[in-house]
């Protein structure tokens, strides 16, 4: 296993820049997820790490070695494709053993390694079946088997659960993470599904338009989104934004939104007057008749233990996650109380998050 270091990686297809100066480090044994909407450059980045695309600029280091211009077969990595790419003309055993055959390994040893791998993935009973008859989850396991059988430096996975049914998907998310915990393989996993990313990743890079918007643990990304895009992309329902104007002075602890004073984490930088947005996660909203921030109930979505309540405010609809027990009827006027310590502030123009005490705490915690 090895660490993956990506430096100023760039890829352009003609005039279109797919990946812009990406930098990140996947530490040895880490489960790293690249998350973003389709066309954001995450798959291109993965393919460059694999050696299936050559970068326009930048470097890729695998275990300290520069592999940027090396051929895929010389990199000692394994790749799991979205469509699995199981060879239909071979049975399960041959599919899993295929990478070992390339190394010229003796057939007895291949047999042993394939069986060992199949046991690990609990597919040893399928070894002599044809791959075309397998169910989605089993195909996925065979594809994984083909990846781990060689014990490569790292695993690259391109939306491997994308084509599975929801039922299998949840199962495989669990299995993948469990497998990772057992073999501690450095893994780069590409997905557009935030639930997969949040539940499996040690670290996440959120990408948009070829740029890494934020790099951090799932918790950091959820609690302290670096940009409005990240805040909007992560979370279901996503973060609410309420606009407010004017600049911010260093040390400010309060802002005015729709005529109501809202306490926020202490601002740690001066911000010139501009259009701003206050970011609130749905679960950080409570109903409080004393609050001056008001709205009318628009609709509710019952989820069992909680409910998502859409509230129409002067600045559009915002969604709150509140206990399911509260009874609300459409049109009802409510006051909204926000959890001050958990609010984010954004510059609307750039989408950048303003430095506040909340973000600094995280940085301090990381460096300390």
């Amino acid at each position: 296993m090895a660490e993956i270091r990506v430096q100023n990686l760039r890829k352009a297809f003609g005039a279109f820049v797919a990946v812009q100066d990406s930098n990140f480090v996947v530490e040895d044994g880490e489960f790293f997820v690249m998350l973003g909407p389709s066309g954001c450059g995450k798959t291109t980045t993965l393919r460059m790490i694999a050696g299936l695309e050559l970068p326009t600029g930048g470097k890729i280091l695998l275990g300290g070695e520069d592999v940027t211009m090396r051929r895929a077969r010389e990199r000692d990595i394994a790749f799991v494709f979205q469509l699995f790419a199981l060879y239909p003309h071979m049975n399960v055993r041959k599919n899993i053993g295929f990478p070992l055959l390339a190394q010229g390994m003796a057939s007895a040893e291949i047999r042993e390694r394939v069986e060992e791998t199949a046991k690990l993935l609990r597919i040893d009973h399928l070894l002599d079946k044809s791959v075309s008859g397998l169910a989605g989850g089993d195909r996925q396991r065979v594809a994984l088997g083909r990846a781990i059988v060689r014990r490569p430096k790292c695993f690259l996975m391109d939306e491997p659960l994308g084509t599975l049914d929801t039922e299998f998907r949840d199962l495989m998310v669990h299995e993948l993470r469990e497998l990772h915990n057992r073999i501690h393989a450095t893994t780069v996993y590409v997905t557009h599904d935030q639930m997969e990313a949040m539940s499996m990743a040690d670290k996440i890079a959120v990408m948009n338009h070829g740029v890494i918007e934020q790099f951090g643990t799932p918790r950091e990304i959820y609690d302290r989104p670096a940009t409005m895009f990240v805040a909007d992309f992560i979370g279901s329902p996503p973060m609410n934004f309420l606009k407010f104007g004017g600049g911010l002075a260093k040390g400010a602890k309060e802002i005015v939104v729709q005529g109501a004073k809202v306490a926020v984490p202490e601002v740690r930088e001066d911000v010139a007057p501009a259009d701003m947005a206050l970011g609130i996660r749905p679960e950080h909203i409570r109903f409080d008749d004393g609050s001056r921030l008001r709205g009318a109930i628009y609709g509710t979505e019952y989820l069992g233990t909680t409910q998502i309540v859409a509230v129409e405010t002067a600045d559009g609809i915002i969604k709150a996650r509140v206990p399911a027990g509260i009874h609300l009827s459409p049109g009802e006027q409510v006051g909204l109380a926000l959890s001050s310590a958990r609010l984010s502030l954004f510059e609307k123009g750039t989408g950048r998050a303003v430095r506040t005490a909340m973000y600094d705490q995280a940085a301090e915690a990381r460096h300390g």
Partner: protein, 316 residues
């Protein structure tokens, strides 16, 4: 049909099936009758073959096959009587007509020429076609669309339209009446078909297969050989049949460019007619034997052919 039985809107009705079946059987009969007639004629004696009204029931004879494979000379009965006893059935049959076998005919070498040229050119066309199609399918080829159009444009006119320039070129190059020349010619005609057909097949094979193999330690050529080729067999088989049928049946170029050593069976068979009267059984025997290789090849690959023809109509 009772109200309780659900009936499919897409399944054909029994009337439609009946009509379709009748048409298919009629078409099959129309197609097969000439072939059966040729086959029957090959087992007739020369007088039976030109009998009027035509004989449907007759005493089978292999005289046609004897005549096909031999050359004969007419001799006086005295001379024939002076010979020893006939050595075989053919010998005996021929002597009854006051002839003796002078030697083997050219049919066998011509037939072998046909085999070499047709299978050789089919192999070349499919080989080149597979590689080109793979290249067009997987790599960024500069001007790929224009090149593909150019390749297709070689089929815009019947190949025979360029017969005279090719005749002159071949004469200059010393390719006239050589198997190599004919293989090159048929390959050139077929390769455009092969590229287009195979490109369609290879486009349908996800490139992830090769990418997976290349990541797993194989070179591109190995990946192509081990993952693309096995999955392209259907397309390759279908393409091979089309190429073989053309090369096997081609008459015009063969008649123009071959006369001796490299002559193929199609221009040779009609020449049988001229040798010693209109020997229809021998012609029919030649035609029957000529049909065998393509029949065997098509039967062997018929599954692929069927899948090849309907390919792309329904996604797997």
């Amino acid at each position: 049909m009772s109200l309780t039985t659900a009936h499919s809107v897409v399944a054909p009705s029994s009337n439609a099936k009946l009509i379709a079946g009748t048409i298919i059987i009629a078409y099959a009969l129309i197609s097969i009758v000439p072939l059966l007639w040729i086959f029957a004629t090959s087992f007739k004696t020369p007088p039976d073959s030109i009998a009027y009204p035509p004989k449907i029931v007759f005493q089978p004879s292999i005289e046609g096959y004897c005549n096909l494979f031999t050359t004969r000379t007419r001799q006086t009965p005295e001379y024939i009587n002076s010979l020893g006893p006939a050595t075989g059935f053919c010998d005996e049959t021929v002597r009854k007509r006051n002839m003796v076998i002078a030697g083997p005919s050219n049919f066998l070498p011509r037939f072998v020429n046909s085999l070499i040229i047709a299978f050789g050119s089919t192999f070349c066309a499919v080989f080149l076609g597979t590689l080109s199609a793979y290249g067009f399918s997987r790599f960024k080829v500069p001007l790929a669309d224009d090149l593909l159009f150019f390749i297709l444009s070689t089929r815009f006119m019947p190949p025979i339209a360029v017969a005279i320039p090719i005749y002159l070129m071949y004469r200059e190059l010393g390719l006239s009446d050589t198997a190599l020349g004919m293989i090159l010619l048929y390959t050139a005609v077929n390769v455009s078909l092969a590229v287009w057909l195979l490109k369609g097949f290879i486009d349908e094979i996800p490139r992830e297969y090769e990418e997976a193999a290349m990541i797993d330690g194989y070179t591109r050529l190995q990946a192509f050989w081990r993952t693309v080729l096995p999955q392209a067999t259907t397309g390759i088989a279908a393409t091979a049949i089309f190429c073989l049928i053309f090369a096997w049946n081609e008459y015009a170029f063969a008649a123009l460019l071959t006369s001796g050593t490299a002559q193929t069976a199609p221009p040779f068979i009609p020449t049988i007619i001229g040798e010693g009267g209109q020997d229809w059984p021998a012609v029919a025997a030649g035609t029957t034997i000529f049909l065998v290789p393509i029949l065997v090849f098509t039967i062997l690959l018929r599954k692929q052919l069927l899948r090849g023809i309907t390919f792309g109509a329904v996604r797997k």
